[in-house]
Symmetry: D2
Subunit: 258 residues, 4 copies
């Protein structure tokens, strides 16, 4: 079986989904089900231990792995504090490090992210850093103890797709650690493409949550990720400059062979 291993966890699904931007929490279990996702990311703020209705944890299947993110952190120190709070709140020991100080493009700060990765990995967290795809920084994240690397395809929520394709491909080829494309994926075809390129998984939130029908869209992304992964395994052929017939072209009518 083609499983993805992150830390000690083995996953059948290579589609991670988010929990933000849904019109209501009630739809979340249905999307988790239709998308077959096993890793669910969430902002710690939405974990409200005092109100079951507002506690996002109550809407997530217990068999899923939680991936709390450090959304709201503007530097390594804040990310570390949020990660510790998440673990203390019962979210487990996985953490997606997001350090963002740019309010317009919401681009990650690789330097602060590496610092936080280093601290949290030493504390036993399974650390998945969100990053601007950069080979040197990805190597530093691996050295700092990251369990996977999460390069962005385009700024969060833009649905622009794999605008950083060139650099993501280099990470895939050079980094010996799972590569999970996070942010920017707006359509199933883009998720499929990331998987065809050799990405190990993708994280999708906005494209599912803000579609007209998140349940069906979750299913669509499930199929897309499976499609891309299988194509990667079955090896696609290179592009050819000239045409090549699928059917015999010559001598049919006059060849006398019917």
């Amino acid at each position: 079986m083609d499983k993805l291993k992150i830390g000690e966890t083995e996953l059948n699904s290579r589609l991670f989904i988010g929990t933000g931007k849904y019109s209501s929490n009630d739809i979340l279990p249905k999307v988790i089900n239709s998308s077959k996702s096993q890793v669910i990311t969430l902002a710690l703020r939405r974990v409200n231990l005092h109100s079951p209705e507002e506690n996002i944890l109550n809407y997530i299947d217990k068999n899923c792995t939680l991936l709390p993110n450090t959304s709201g952190a503007r530097n390594a120190e804040e990310a570390v504090r949020i990660a510790r709070l998440a673990r203390a709140s019962g979210c487990g020991n996985w953490v997606k490090i997001e350090v963002i100080s740019d309010n317009k493009y919401l681009l990650p700060d690789n330097y602060e992210t590496i610092k936080a990765t280093d601290i949290l990995a030493k504390e036993g967290f399974v650390v998945l850093p969100y990053m601007n795809p950069d080979l040197m920084d990805a190597k530093r994240m691996v050295d700092a103890g990251a369990a996977a690397v999460m390069p962005l395809g385009a700024p969060i929520g833009t649905n622009k797709g794999l605008r950083t394709e060139e650099m993501i491909q280099i990470l895939i080829d050079e980094i010996n650690m799972p590569i999970i494309v996070d942010a920017g994926i707006g359509k199933p075809s883009q998720a499929a493409k990331a998987m065809e390129m050799g990405a190990d998984a993708v994280l999708v939130n906005t494209a599912i949550a803000s579609s007209s029908n998140p349940i069906i869209m979750g299913e669509a992304f499930h199929h897309a990720v499976v499609a891309g992964r299988k194509a990667y395994l079955a090896k696609m052929r290179a592009v050819k400059k000239f045409a090549s017939a699928s059917s015999p072209l010559t001598g049919f009518l006059y060849g006398g062979d019917i």
Copy 2:
């Protein structure tokens, strides 16, 4: 249920596959099974009534609809003759019209194709013309009685993908008849994209037949077509210029609300 109707036939699968370029006919039933395809295209030359081993028909599930093509035809007259031979050989009354006189790019001749469409539709064939995407010619094909229109994404066998995207989108938006993207699709992500654009189906041959593992690749394309179709139905959101956070960004650590 979301079915595709062509002529009088209702289809659950929107992936049509070809039978050319496989290393052996033995693999064909397995690919038909893994791809869940219900429409199979074939060159009439490969229908050999005198030799069961070499007769391609013996490798195609009886529940599938056959789509014999007129490969080898260089003008309308030849296409018409091949179509009639195909029907007489027991291939049913569907026909994919291919009229090709260019040996390098194998591009279709729309003008001759329209003529053949007109003749064969009048003779009761379910006619699917293969074409260079052109709005005026697609209208003429519809007027001539085509049951669907099959624009190419790129020259046959090149795996280049949807190089004619602009014109295919116009056909999808303007032609009130199934649009089946044929030729050029080299990866599942490209098939998904065609379906997201609103194509009704895709035909894939080279990308499956020449992959390292056609059975898995057939499965990959099945998932890709389902993904793209479901995304089209669930409506994707537009691309945004600027980022938009999935998680709350501000006031977390200092907001006092935990």
Copy 3:
């Protein structure tokens, strides 16, 4: 000297411009001057022999070649009538055949265009047919006597660029007649790219006329066309998969060679 010959005319400039969409005719001579264009296209309707101020011909340098178009024609017959009127009105014997019956995308009708080309070429016109890029139809236009072929890059006025790149490249490689990319070019970089691909000239109207400063934009397109043409002549190198240093990388500080 690298001249473009069309009919009997030798041109130094490979940028053709249009006369529509300008805020006033007064700016036209300045744009002709800044763009260095020698071929100017115009709709016959704008040739008003009774009013010098409204007669577009009075704003076009006498050394330019006029390229009246058959805008407004919905079939071959109408195109032929407009072409004859243009010649009778003193516009010379060049004609750009535009036959358009689609009001939304303004796509040309290749079939009617071929018919008009055939008639007008026999009457001694230098015929430049505007077309949807299609290899078979381009061959028919050449056979019908066209002096050049004008494939569209994208629908008129959209500024989308070379969306039909794949098919235009095939025309460039296969058709032994000048290829002039017409319609869709929205930026100088796109004009440069068309020329790098081997196009013989480009026609630009909307991108210049509707810019904030048509005079400077005309100059920009002039430079772009020169850039692309010179690059084509000087031969560009292929894309490489991996990096290749421009400067020596190793052994500098410790190599002992300074």
Copy 4:
């Protein structure tokens, strides 16, 4: 006049060129002349004070600004040493910081580059750091005293063009300092596009040096950069979804208005 100011220097040309990969130094003065470039980058190793024939400085017009690079440096310390050697060798006080420890893609190390920028700016150098486009790192370079920022379009020498377009556009929009696109530009059309996007200049080496005719290719890039800059100044129009006629379309033949 539209000049580019870097440090205290005002430039008329926005095309910087390199000196590597030429078949012989003799061609260099001709390329400088044809490209009209005023800033010439060079590896310090090629400055040989003991041999006039091999000393690259003897082939560069005295009116040009030299931009020695720190090619060969694998960390900040080495870059600083090379920069100081360059200044001591009479190359002036500009320096392009290149810190590269990846031998396959030759990607820059932003972190070490920022450190070197900080040290050298304090020593009075005009520092132009070569970087992987990253908003946070570009801000740090500006804070460290960079006189411009040089993001890569694609790995050095690949001719792949603006693969990092998304991130370069963000730098252009957000960084209040000249942005010079460096590395990856393989064709004049790509240089024009970078300028249309609002880049302040481009640096081109491989595409010129390895073309069949570097002198003409230098001229081509000159025109392309001028074209892109002028288009940026004259403001291009947005892309439109539907067509828009350049010429009046209706009522021509039957409108009775001629």
